[in-house]
């Protein structure tokens, strides 16, 4: 049971090759009454592109992200679908078939993640240096101590964090700095894909802008693909190449940002776009008007003919 028939898909935004292909992925939570968190999701991620994944809380975007990296924990299970990673070197990797050591090697070196709210994502009792080091040690066991240190310094500088912070503990850093450290850590092995789950939601807008600028800049420099997950659609409109909109576990629209903004096809997309008060236009119009221009029938996953 796939929903590609109802999926409103626009033509591919870029002509670059695909780096990740997700086909018909379904994730089910085996609770008392099994819940399908992700239903038949399909998308293609291209090299170096920023793909936004938008939707309200509970729509399944985080579940999808975790499933891609096989980080989903029981009672969640992948009920069907494929996830194929297309290596720059030319061969394909069936992510769902990887086991143990191969999976561990794949993780972070090809695909890394920045989690929601780095508040807790860093080990509170070890230093930043130690946490960067164990990543490098695990994947590049032949690096010398000096090389490890040099690389750690390099990634921190890249994200705008003072290298002296290597000796600090996570609780000594501010929220913004912690998030930057997480991003630096995600870049350590120069992966081909970075999945970022609400990386800036917990931060104030000024810091948010700084970090977003960093991400886009790094992408330009290092040419990795980014899957950017957030509920903040306007933000995605600014930075992503393409945007996928999720509703109740299904991807209901997938298009370039410009086309999504100008000609949203799915009623839910339209509703989402209309839900953000604008900085322009008449003051109070959004709340006062009482007429919701985007209001329509209850959002379904069907696209009107």
């Amino acid at each position: 049971m796939t929903s590609t028939a109802t999926l409103a898909v626009g033509p591919d935004a870029t002509d670059r090759d695909a780096v990740l292909t997700i086909r018909d992925l379904t994730v089910v939570y085996e609770v008392e009454e099994p819940v399908t968190a992700v239903e038949g999701a399909s998308l293609t991620l291209h090299r170096g592109e920023i793909l936004g994944l938008a939707g309200e809380s509970g729509c399944g975007k985080t579940t999808l992200a975790y499933a891609v990296n096989r980080l989903h924990r029981p009672p969640a299970r992948i009920a069907s679908g494929d996830i194929v990673f297309h290596d720059r070197a030319g061969h394909d990797v069936d992510v769902l078939a990887l086991e143990d050591a191969d999976l561990r090697e794949f993780r972070w070196s090809q695909l890394s993640m920045v989690f929601q709210g780095a508040m807790n994502a860093l080990n509170p009792v070890t230093s930043i240096r130690a946490q960067l080091r164990d990543t490098l040690r695990a994947h590049r066991p032949r690096m010398t101590r000096a090389q490890v240190e040099a690389r750690s310094v390099e990634v921190l500088e890249r994200v705008g964090v003072d290298p002296r912070r290597l000796s600090s503990y996570p609780h000594e850093l501010s929220g913004g700095m912690r998030q930057r450290v997480m991003i630096a850590m995600a870049m350590l092995l120069e992966p081909q894909i970075m999945i970022m789950d609400e990386p800036t939601t917990a931060l104030d807008v000024v810091v948010q802008r700084e970090i977003l600028t960093e991400i886009v800049r790094l992408r330009d420099e290092l040419d990795f693909a980014v899957v950017f997950i957030t509920h903040d659609l306007p933000l995605l409109l600014e930075i992503s190449d393409r945007i996928a909109v999720m509703l109740r576990g299904e991807i209901v629209e997938l298009d370039t940002s410009q086309r999504l903004l100008r000609e949203p096809r799915h009623p839910y997309t339209r509703k989402l776009l209309g839900s953000f008060p604008s900085l322009h236009g008449e003051r109070g119009a959004f709340i006062r008007s009482g007429v919701d221009e985007t209001a329509g029938p209850e959002p379904t996953t069907e696209v009107p003919a």
Partner: protein, 349 residues
């Protein structure tokens, strides 16, 4: 003295990662009606209740049903037989009868001390935390100091200075209580502080509810499970503590408890003479009672931490999910004819 700490920290988490589950998580208000206060029945809880209730019955009704524990006969130390279920002591006394009376004594003192100690810890823990400021600091310091000074040596010293005649049940009870309230007080204080800072308490205060109403209506109901749990710990500790005191001859001089039974058994060289029926049952009874109470405590933990509920069911679901996923993957590999070699190949940079 029991080693089960009064605060085991966050207890068992469920197998599901709460963050990912799309199921709506329970609201921050734990008060979902009085029904939610009752633990769910599990085999462990059933066993615990069985142990506690049967031993309690034995202690309360038993003494009326058995013979005279103090009657001395000249048959000396005898092994269990038809006439004497648990044999006799070296003065010919019926061990089983003694056991029933001793159980009652231990239960009495356990309850008494448990109540006094819990009352003390409630006062120092809850009241101090609620008032805040200097009161809180002072009470907290007092609790910590009392906690760090070793209990039994203190009890021994205090009991040692009291002449034998004055060592009644109440004296011992008071001494045990004042040396054991500190741990619970600390736990209650932590819990009160956490409840006090929750949003619904702040909301009640802002809405103008009077202090006492806030305590009784908002704070206390959430503390009840913790208080219950601490009371149970206090009873276990009291029974063990009294047993220890009695064993070394410092127990209540007029009471007959499981501890005094062990004292007499030790002095009667029960061990040396191999009279296991004399020294084994009292201790075993204490251990079983303590274990029953601990099991009940685990169930109370479920109320305090709802994540604990249905851990079994969670594990089962988790296993099912893993199994199903593996099957799907195996089927994929077979039907799609995917090359294993290709799938395993990951070029290292």
């Amino acid at each position: 003295m029991t080693h089960l700490s009064t605060d085991n920290g966050p207890t068992v988490g469920s197998a599901a990662d709460e963050k990912l589950a799309p199921v709506a998580s329970s609201a921050d208000r734990p008060r979902a009606g009085w029904r939610a206060m009752l633990p769910t029945m599990t085999p462990w809880l059933a066993l615990g209740l069985f142990l506690v209730i049967s031993i309690a019955l034995f202690g309360t009704i038993g003494p009326y049903l058995v013979g005279d524990p103090g009657q001395i006969r000249d048959i000396g130390l005898t092994a269990p037989s038809g006439e004497f279920v648990l044999g006799t002591t070296q003065t010919g006394q019926d061990v089983f009868a003694q056991l029933a009376h001793a159980t009652r004594g231990s239960l009495q003192i356990g309850l008494l001390v448990g109540l006094i100690a819990t009352a003390l810890s409630c006062f120092f823990g809850i009241y101090g935390a609620y008032r805040g400021g200097l009161t809180d600091e002072a009470f907290s310091l007092l609790s910590n100091v009392m906690l760090v000074i070793p209990g039994l040596p203190l009890v021994i010293v205090i009991s040692g200075f009291v002449p034998r005649e004055a060592r009644g049940l109440w004296t011992i009870a008071v001494v045990l209580a004042i040396t054991s309230w500190a741990g619970s007080a600390r736990v209650l204080r932590a819990q009160t502080l956490s409840v006090r800072s929750r949003d619904y308490v702040a909301a009640a205060r802002v809405a103008g509810e009077r202090s006492w109403r806030v305590i009784v209506v908002e704070i206390l109901p959430n503390l009840l499970p913790v208080i219950a749990s601490q009371f149970v710990f206090a009873v276990i500790a009291a029974i063990l503590g009294e047993a220890g005191l009695a064993f070394i001859g410092l127990g209540a001089s007029n009471a007959s408890t499981l501890g005094t039974m062990l004292f007499f058994a030790q002095n009667g060289f029960a061990l040396g003479m191999g009279a296991w029926w004399w020294f084994a049952p009292p201790g075993l009874l204490i251990a079983l009672f303590g274990m029953g109470l601990s099991l009940i405590n685990f169930s109370i933990d479920e109320i305090i931490n709802p994540k604990l509920k249905n851990v079994r069911a969670h594990r089962k679901r988790a296993r099912k999910a893993i199994r199903l996923e593996r099957e799907v993957r195996r089927a994929d590999r077979r039907t799609a004819g995917r090359s294993e070699a290709g799938a395993q190949e990951v070029a290292s940079r």
